[in-house]
Amino acid sequence: MAYFLQQLINGLTLGSIYGLIAIGYTMVYGIIGMINFAHGEIYMIGAFISIIAFLVLGLVGVTYIPLALATVLATTMLFTSIYGWAVERIAYRPLRGSFRLAPLISAIGMSIFLQNYVQIFQGARVKPMPPLIQGGLTVFESGGFTVRLSYLQLFIVLLTLGLMIGFTTLIATTPLGRAQRACEQDMRMAALLGVDVDRVISLTFVMGAALAAVAGLMVTLYYGVIDFFIGFLAGVKAFTAAVLGGIGSLPGAMLGGILIGLIEAFWSAYFSVEYKDVSVFVVLVLVLIFCPTGLLGRPEVEKV
């Protein structure tokens, strides 16, 4: 029981991270109907920028942890957003309206480019990060096994929750959110009614990148090591989360992320660590076969 509870906590933490990345996939897919294959790399870049920001702050001499965290969060989101914007501008916008495979290939190329770019300029070795938020609460104790909820896990889950609330409000109430929803339903009609579609799409990429940046920061703090290759697997898992939750649906992406996190945590706890990545793919295949619209997705009508 205690073991189960511990895995639940771990899974929720992991799931929050996946969920944040999944939102980027689901929003982009909702609006322009393409898999932003480079999104995983954006998350990886977020992780790198966060580690660099921590180092710079350390050199400047900021030692008050909440201040350091807030500063790093803001800088990481800012700089990663620029990457998200630039990727869309360079690799996707010229291909809009082109045939279906072109943006996907371009995205794969972008993903390879970004991976190697980071590898060349930051080195291929793993980057360690000393634990910043230490300590935790003991939730439960039984039979010599303690269930611990570390402050870091608490921080991750709460930050995700806060971002989700803010984000949902943004989509639901602001003019930008309205424009976004309009583009999602019918891009041409939205353009006719005066919505600047290019701007909306750019902002969608910026928002997705900002959330991926937060996920990158979290993973840096949580695992304490990053390398240039983390984006690929995290990207595929987050995409699975987006599909599981129903692609195009924001709450779905979060729900899917948490489910994927839980599946992964329990699979590694009870079955085998080696095959934990396989478990995610198996889930993906099963969802697509039996419930292609996902848990919260709208059914797709095939038009002739």
Partner: protein, 439 residues
């Protein structure tokens, strides 16, 4: 955007209207480049020992990046201005080929074939060149195999490398455990890979487009993870070594024959040379690739090939006409996978050693890039793209670490430049009515 609208103004204030937005645009682009480069290029992390990181600054590089983007942006705009209003692509060779339906004239095909076959015997050809040619041909064969799935049937497969791996491991295991040689194992490799194609095909048949891409990607990763972790059979990360080399009708290419046997050089009474095997491997893969091509070209004209193309164009219409999409898609997967498996088998025998590291996602991406960059469905495009993608990085060996960087950038660049591939060709082979519709 602003620059483009500024260019459309009348002639009186033309030069000012040209330069002002141009400069503004270039400055903005340079600013973005500086912001992009600042954290990741300008601040470099490095190990200072004891598991800690230090940081180095490279602000000069950031400045160079900004300046380069500024200059590049201006140059690009001026080029665009120069070419504005001219008909695109007139008189160039690629659109000419595309206009011919992607099929080059007979003399070109023949000349290409003769060049390819004669390559090992040319005076200037070195062992390095033949090796490179062999690698290019492996990718050509893989590209042609994947072209059946992606180009003809229109099913996007991001996990094609799985079949390549299955073929390679089938041969390696048959050779290690049952003592099979390359030629005996070849049909089995193809068969096993084809069965894997069907196994993958079943669950994903209902999926369309991008979903299919992700599931096939997942399948490719599953195969790789299994190969990596099932150490008792596959050798895990150490892979399988000592895979036998192919023989020439039973004559091995070796310095000394095994007991009671004759080697190639003894049989033909020539001096032993390690190059014989290299040339032989080159010719084998050339033959295999050409076989793939001939097969594809023929099957296009058979009912099943026609059905693939019809399915690609319109699945609903196909169903209405009584074509069963399930069997058609499965056959495309199986045949594509079979060629992947055959190529994998050749890869194993050429390398003599295989490990899961050779079958990563990047391979799938490369093969897919070859098909799409070449122009989906175009057989010649695959060859051009394979030569471009495989040999270009080889020439850039001087800056080897930038290889994949350039590769990724080239993928983006070619897509932006020619979204339909180098030789754009997606016309169905047949069409109702006499006049093919102009594109």
């Amino acid at each position: 955007m602003t620059a483009a609208s500024g260019l459309a103004v009348d002639n009186t204030s033309k030069s000012r209207d040209f330069w002002a937005p141009l400069l503004k645009d270039a400055v903005l682009a340079a600013l973005v480049a500086v912001l992009l480069a600042l954290p990741l290029v300008g601040l470099q992390t490095y190990d200072i020992g004891g598991g800690a990181l230090g940081i180095r600054t490279h602000f000069d590089w950031v400045a160079i990046a900004g300046a380069a983007v500024f200059g590049g942006r201006i140059a690009l705009r001026m080029l665009q201005q120069l070419y504005r209003g001219r008909p695109r692509g007139r008189g160039r060779i690629l659109p000419v080929l595309a206009a011919r339906g992607g099929r080059p004239a007979m003399p070109i095909t023949l000349a290409g074939l003769v060049c390819a076959a004669a390559l090992p015997f040319l005076p200037f050809s070195s062992r390095y060149l033949i090796d490179l040619g062999t690698t290019v041909l492996i990718y050509v064969m893989l590209g042609w195999g994947l072209n059946v799935v992606v180009g003809l049937a229109g099913l996007l497969d991001l996990g094609y490398v799985a079949f390549y791996a299955v073929g390679a491991y089938t041969f390696a295991l048959l050779a290690r455990d049952l003592g099979f040689g390359f030629w005996e194992a070849l049909p089995f490799s193809g068969l096993v890979a084809a069965s894997f194609g069907i196994i993958l095909g079943f669950p994903v048949l209902r999926l369309r487009g991008d979903y299919l891409a992700i599931v096939t990607l997942g399948f490719g990763e599953i195969i790789r993870v299994v190969l990596l972790n099932w150490a008792s059979v596959t050798g895990g990360p150490n892979g399988i070594s000592d895979i036998p080399r192919p023989s020439f009708f039973g004559l091995p290419f070796a310095r000394s024959a095994p007991e009671g046997g004759t080697t190639f050089h003894q049989f033909f009474g020539v001096e032993f040379s390690p190059e014989h095997r290299v040339v032989f491997l080159y010719l084998v893969i050339l033959a295999m690739a050409l076989l793939t091509n001939a097969f594809t070209l023929r099957i296009r004209k058979l009912p099943i090939g026609r059905a693939w193309e019809a399915l690609r164009e319109d699945e609903v219409a196909c169903r209405a006409l009584g074509i069963n999409p399930t069997t058609i898609k499965l056959s495309a997967f199986a045949i594509g996978a079979m060629f992947g498996g055959l190529a994998g088998s050749f890869f194993a025998t050429r390398q003599g050693f295989i490990s899961p590291e050779s079958f990563t996602f990047i391979e799938s991406a490369t093969i897919l890039a070859i098909v799409v960059l070449g122009g989906m469905g175009s057989q010649l495009g695959v060859v051009l793209a394979a030569i471009l993608l495989v040999s270009l990085p080889e020439f850039g060996r001087a800056f080897a670490e930038f290889r994949m960087l350039i590769f990724g950038a080239a993928m983006v660049g070619v897509m932006v430049w020619r979204p339909r591939g180098l030789i754009a060709h997606r016309e169905p082979t047949v069409r109702l009515g006499l006049q093919p519709a102009a594109r």
